[in-house]
Symmetry: C2
Subunit: 343 residues, 2 copies
DNA sequence: TTGAAAGCGATACCAT
DNA sequence: ATGGTATCGCTTTCAA
């Protein structure tokens, strides 16, 4: 039963309503919003008063349909819960908003089918550009993106066969570098902890394993299909030690896993880095402040967002000129801290 | 200079294009998407083939304009970086997507002016409902929401004067309860660590301080205008101890602050809970797995999202009937763990 | 089962 | 500086 009144259901004011009240044509009202300098101050004042009185909010849908400019950019990320993508999205927003563009963000929860649906949904909103995560789009999704006619950026990782523009870093190379780092720290029984839901984590693992084998060592990999989390790190550490009590280093494919593993070590009285060295991935803010501080492979998340936004803006506003190189490698960097011995 | 070809710039296929290719009228094509059972199988097949060939994606803007149904819900949260809102948004998405609704999410970065702008932007997309965080909207924003004619949910906290529907928990009550809990644990020199950017944190503090004073104790509050983070927790712990070396308990207004404070304690050799007890807020996933595990005030974030979505769906699809009570208190709960002594 | 015609609320183009 | 009119791509009557 109704215990209170809903907000007024009356029709929202339109451009025409404002025009009528202000005693001008609707074109004039439209101009007040788009090119105020072309409207006489007197008319402008009347329009503004009328708009305020009616609480007029322009209908962007109609505007977009008429102008075929939505000032919107579609973005698909695998997860909104993961700190990794927050940095990327922040940078994106920071750069885009100032230029009058708005990002429509959908998450795929690491599922290709969801990503395909999200891409279709976003394209239905007629964005002026698309940004997707990774390079593993389904054939259908890829075709939709190609047909869309708008610039497409694939981010976070690199491929030899991009749809359009590709900005990221090499994950196999990161895996290789992580292993080299741990070897240089003196580790020999090196395990890898990961959540293979993430295709990039799988590629990091490949680089890691290849180099491990090249050094005559056997890969120890422990993983779970659950999404990455601190508690998963603790859980996997338990499984790892049960199977391989003699590991002397662990590379965790996310800092959350690393933190969870560290907590579990503390709980079991295992010393870090003396008994086991721990290396994370991403270098989230907490790595530097943790105790012990966590060594990690730093990824340029903010930069990736910023570069992506800048390139798109240049493309959309400016001359429409494309970057000299369609493939931009932003690299990574290992930050050595207390959770690993010094190399 | 161009080093590669941009994706084809040709005009995207429209309903009319598909109709022409399939040899039917555009109404029939439209029906294939909305009411397939009204179209003969033969026509349907031809339309589907034509749509596939043209990689046709319906223009949602045009559809929304014509039908005045956007199947979209506008959401404004203060931050996308904060785990707190992720749980809320997950629940929202989970419930909404299945029902064919899509959430458009914008963040305000804890600034009322940004929130106002975000609300205006979202209303411009003609959502069928609006969800905003907290109850401190500007007068203008409030008026826009009221005039919008769509259901509005204010979430996360409660007010006596909601715009429309209000789902959340009482933050002053949480502050009160946190203090009672620490007193019951035997603490007497109790400090509060917070980031006052968040209006709800300010209200928690009020409940906390009021009860502290009622017990004849002096409030010790340490805060920073920076956004909450793990490193901020470590930093504030330093400031706190410099000013008040004798504190025996700290209530942190977020679990991130609590974690940072804990790391800093470990670094300084301060024992938890023996020297200092630490209580967090929100009960994020990491609290249970941290070492020592972190006591925290658990908030029903997922439930808030789910309840919000369910009520809106009922309102939008169903009879349009509103909940019996426009104000729903989902409460909170203190989870006692190892970072505080037992009460 | 199918289609013709009239909008939806703006913008673009061309006059005045 | 201002306005008339066609148009954007789709949905909604209403007829056939």
């Amino acid at each position: 039963m109704n215990t209170h009144e809903p907000p007024s259901r009356r029709r929202r004011a339109t451009l025409g309503d404002v025009a009528r009240l202000a005693g001008v044509s609707s074109v004039t009202v439209s101009r007040v919003y788009r090119e105020p300098q072309l409207v006489s101050p007197a008319a402008r004042d009347r329009v503004e008063a009328a708009a305020a009185e009616l609480a007029y909010i322009p209908n962007r849908l109609a505007a977009a349909l008429a102008s075929s400019q939505t000032h919107t950019i579609g973005v698909v990320v695998p997860s909104l819960t993961n700190g990794v993508f927050n940095d990327f999205l922040s940078a994106l927003h920071n750069t885009l908003l100032g230029a009058g563009f708005q990002a429509l963000v959908l998450d795929s929860r690491y599922l290709a089918a969801n990503e395909e649906r999200a891409i279709a949904t976003l394209l239905g909103h007629h964005p002026e550009a698309m940004i997707v995560t990774g390079v593993d789009q389904t054939a259908t999704a890829r075709r939709m993106l190609e047909q869309s006619g708008v610039p497409v950026v694939q981010t976070m990782e690199l491929t030899d066969d991009p749809i359009d523009i590709n900005i990221g870093l090499s994950h196999p190379a990161a895996g290789y570098a992580a292993l080299r780092f741990l070897l240089d720290c003196g580790a020999r029984r090196i395990a890898h902890m990961m959540a293979p839901l993430d295709a990039r984590a799988v590629r990091r693992r490949e680089g890691f394993e290849r180099e491990l084998r090249a050094n005559g060592l056997d890969p120890i990999v422990i993983h779970s299909t659950k999404p990455t989390s601190v508690s998963l790190g603790a859980e996997l550490l338990g499984e790892l030690l049960a199977a391989h009590p003699d590991v002397d280093a662990i590379w965790c494919s996310s800092d959350y896993l690393a933190l969870g593993a560290m907590f579990e070590c503390a709980r079991r009285g295992i010393r870090i880095p003396d008994d086991i060295a721990i290396l994370g991935f991403n270098d989230l803010e907490l790595c530097a402040v943790a105790h012990p501080s966590i060594s990690s492979v730093a990824t340029p998340r903010y930069e990736m967002g910023q570069t992506t936004a800048e390139i798109l803006l240049e493309l959309l506003r400016g001359s429409g000129r494309r970057p000299a190189d369609r493939r931009i490698d932003l690299g990574f960097e290992i930050r050595a801290r207390d959770s690993t011995r010094r190399p």
